[in-house]
């Protein structure tokens, strides 16, 4: 689960209790968006055309297919959800223009827009959307996102553009999941998938991708770039100023894994935007002529995971001791150069009310750590392996952690892997300790990682606790969002005592864009990946 998934559960508040909600009413005000340059907004000056080049430090893996989400997320420019979140986290119209809830949310009726098409020209109607969700939750398709839509017990097409979802139990996260177009919420043409997917020609996700977003898929050259072209029949939604189609001719995502290369490409103008600016380059990029840097709070938490079923990590005292041995503040200051906050919980404080910090368990107290290790039966410490992906920031963090662990007698051997090799080790279940990060914006991240149904992947922390499983299931089907938050707060309190991770830092989101890029607004959920309003002044 990689970076730049932005979002918030807060918006359920607004919706879970409403019976009828006209979404046009919650279109964002101008002030909702981060301020764009005033002169950019002047109408009539907008130029069309051009190719916007964005550098990514990651690449979709293995395919671009909402039914087969792997380690990466999806290019949002290709996909839209049933709903789209505005800049204030309110769900607004996406493929659906409005929805109504009946019977306390057990019946959800969505009005599909009648002017929308998939990129291959297929008209989007209730039947197509129904088929999409049928495939998404189909056992044979076996999508990892299946659980996120398992709340759908049945669907009925009421008329050409009206689709009804029937639920057995209330599911407050429904609107959130319908809005996550960069992942499981992205709606694609189910008929194209059936023709080209694994049941058909098996070229879907690499050669063929059919969404309905502002840009259509042209080609993907692995390790190099992905090219998208403007979709001329795109009709925008109220969260954007542009009514559609997009101003740009095309968007190119370049996969540049080496940050110094990405920064150089940005400096000479070969790249217009950097999706991630590593802390060590922030100062340099800020001083470049023609460069702008956006910094904001993120959803990211970097942590050390431990294989909770392998000794000595199966002993909670050991896991707590390791937590107390690490001074997160120092790591944030040194490795993230101040562009991060120390982390004391499983999720980011961006979750607001739902966030629980446990400074006692996740704090810093090396003496107590040694006492706990002695109590656990390791008075002289032990030897373990710490696996880290080959990125300079994480390697530096690993080196500092190695030193901190040594202070309490734990001897850690660092092993670096490039990304694919790292995943192979996790899949092969050979991990002991490993540095990872997540930037998920839903509380479902907790069952995603810690529910036993997800063992051994994505529960590669190998944490199995039947009581917790039951509590996750119970929380997910709370009647209201408030109740859900309350239950997840309690869960986090107890999960913290289990010390499954050593939370390290919460890095800031840092994005850079060149002066030529006009009308750029950072979306707190989708980041820089919806380029409907953006135009280039070249």
């Amino acid at each position: 689960m990689r970076k730049a998934n932005k979002g918030k559960w807060l918006f359920f508040l607004i919706v879970a209790i409403s019976l009828v909600f006209a979404m046009s009413a919650c279109a964002p005000g101008e002030e909702a968006a981060p301020p764009a340059d005033e002169e950019d907004a002047v109408e009539g000056e907008i130029k069309t055309g051009g190719d916007l080049v964005i550098a990514w430090d990651w690449e979709p893996d293995p395919v671009i297919d909402p039914y087969n989400l792997g380690w990466g997320n999806l290019p949002l420019d290709i996909f839209e959800g049933l709903l789209i979140s505005d800049y204030d986290f309110n769900p607004g119209p996406g493929i659906a223009e409005s929805y109504t809830f009946e019977e306390g949310g057990l019946v959800q009726i969505y009005q599909i827009r009648d002017d929308r098409y998939f990129h291959d020209g297929t008209k989007i109607d209730a039947e197509a959307v129904k088929r999409h969700f049928e495939l998404l939750i189909d056992e044979e398709v076996d999508s990892m996102s299946r659980w996120d839509f398992a709340f759908i017990s049945s669907m009925e097409v009421l008329d050409e553009y009206t689709l009804q979802f029937n639920l057995d139990d209330p599911f407050p996260a429904a609107l959130s999941n319908f809005s996550w177009a960069g992942g499981w919420g992205g709606i694609q043409n189910p008929y194209a998938w059936e023709e080209y997917g694994p049941w058909g020609e098996n070229t879907y996700g690499t050669d063929v991708v059919v969404g309905s977003g502002p840009f259509k898929f042209v080609e993907w050259i692995p390790g190099d770039r992905m090219v998208l072209e403007r979709f001329d029949d795109y009709k925008s939604t109220p969260i954007f100023e542009n009514e559609g189609p997009a101003y740009l001719d095309s968007v190119t995502y370049r996969f540049i894994f080496d940050s110094s290369t990405a920064v150089m490409e940005f400096e000479v103008g070969n790249v217009h935007m950097l999706e991630t600016v590593p802390p060590e380059f922030v100062e340099q990029v800020s001083n470049m002529p023609g460069a702008n840097v956006y910094k904001g709070d993120s959803w990211e938490v970097v942590y050390i995971g431990m294989a909770c079923d392998k000794p000595p990590f199966d002993n909670v005292l050991v896991r707590r001791a390791l937590n107390l041995a690490v001074d997160q503040q120092e790591i944030a200051d040194i490795v993230w150069m101040g562009y991060a906050e120390p982390a004391y919980g499983y999720i980011s404080p961006s979750f607001g009310d739902a966030y629980v910090a446990d400074r006692e368990t996740f704090g810093y107290d090396p003496e107590m750590a040694m006492e706990l290790l002695a109590e656990a039966g390791y008075p002289d410490g032990f030897t373990a392996e710490l696996m880290v992906e080959n990125r300079t920031d994480w390697i530096s963090a690993a080196e500092i952690i190695q030193d901190m662990f040594a202070q309490v007698g734990v001897d850690v051997e660092i092993r670096q892997y490039e990304r694919a090799g790292y995943y192979d080790v996790l899949r092969a279940e050979d991990q002991e300790m490993f540095i990872r990060a997540h930037s998920w914006w839903g509380l479902d991240i907790l069952p995603w990682y810690f529910h036993s149904r997800n063992f051994p992947y994505p529960n590669y922390h190998r944490y199995v606790n039947e009581e917790m499983d039951a509590r996750f299931d119970d929380a997910d089907y709370s009647a209201t969002y408030e109740e859900l938050v309350e239950k997840y707060r309690d869960i986090q309190v107890d999960l913290a005592k289990e010390a499954i991770w050593v939370p390290l830092v919460q890095p800031m989101d840092i994005v850079a864009y060149r002066d030529e890029v006009k009308n750029f607004n950072f979306h707190p959920l989708y980041g820089i990946r919806y380029n409907v309003d953006v135009w280039l002044d070249e």
């Binding site: 060590e280 040194i334 390697i395 190695q402 030193d403 670096q416 892997y417 490039e418």
Partner: protein, 270 residues
């Protein structure tokens, strides 16, 4: 001729210099290469830290000094493995001749047809990242060169009269190889081995740069360089110093290797 000797001396002095640095690292280095002084991150050169500090506050000079140990160890051991394997296999091939020779040389051709770097990376991936893996991988991909050379030497030398003489007095195969063939065939191996050291140093640096070689906190020049490239604007010495160290050591082995090759090449004698 003299100019060749001169470069041999320069090369030798560089190599000996690095050997001395590596052997006496604990006394020469101003600090322990592992100790993190996290209140002095990426500092410029000072009296306490002559080359400044790295990202976690370690003395850069001390890390470069200790790094010589890694480069030399990898060079010596991997060349040792490669040359020994090559000697063994090449000797058998050259001495036995016939179908044994054809089979072995066929195998050498197969191994040789793989891109060396790719084969080494694949081996490291299988073996787990780490210095031992780099050494083993380097040894396993470099032996065919030695085998080829020793075989061709054997083919030439085993026709000589003194070998015939030894055989006629009933010397065993092993004795003939050990006392007569090997001593008269070994010279080219020394040349190839010296040049192979330069290659090994470079390959080790490359692997460590990619994260496949020395694992933190081991101060391989390649990994220091890899970390340094992202901080070239903050602490340029983090990339320049290990880069220079690699360059000078490789230069030393190349100068020395080239010179002794020229010296031993009979065609270049007057």
């Amino acid at each position: 001729m003299f100019s060749k000797r001169k470069s041999a001396y320069v090369g030798l002095v560089i190599i000996l210099g690095f050997i001395v640095i590596a052997l006496f690292a604990p006394w020469i280095a101003p600090h322990d290469y592992r100790v993190q002084d996290r209140s002095s991150i990426m500092e410029s050169p000072s009296l306490e830290y002559p080359l400044g500090t790295d990202r976690v506050g370690r003395c850069l000079l001390s890390r470069i000094i200790y790094g010589a140990r890694i480069s030399l160890t990898v060079g010596l051991v991997s060349v040792g493995i490669g040359a020994s394997l090559g000697l063994l296999i090449g000797s058998i091939s050259g001495y036995m001749g016939g179908w044994v020779d054809r089979v072995i040389m066929g195998f050498v051709d197969i191994v040789w047809s793989f891109p060396t770097m790719l084969l080494a990376i694949a081996l490291t991936a299988i073996l787990q990242p780490g210095l031992q893996s780099v050494i083993i991988a380097l040894g396993l991909v470099s032996w065919p060169e030695y085998a080829r050379i020793i075989r061709s030497q054997f083919l030439a030398v085993k026709q000589k009269e003194f070998v015939e003489a030894a055989r006629s007095v009933g010397a065993s195969d092993f004795r003939i190889i050990k006392n007569h063939l090997l001593p008269n065939s070994i010279a080219p191996i020394i040349v190839v081995g010296t040049l192979g050291m330069a290659t090994a140093v470079l390959v080790e640096a490359t692997f460590s740069y990619l994260g496949l070689g020395a694992q933190p906190p081991e101060p391989s020049w390649g990994s220091i360089l890899s970390m340094g490239k992202d901080f070239i604007y903050h602490q340029p010495l983090m990339s320049i110093a290990p880069g220079l160290a690699i360059m000078i050591m490789v230069l030393g082995f190349n100068l020395f290797g080239d010179a002794i090759r020229d010296i031993m090449d009979p065609r270049l004698k007057n």
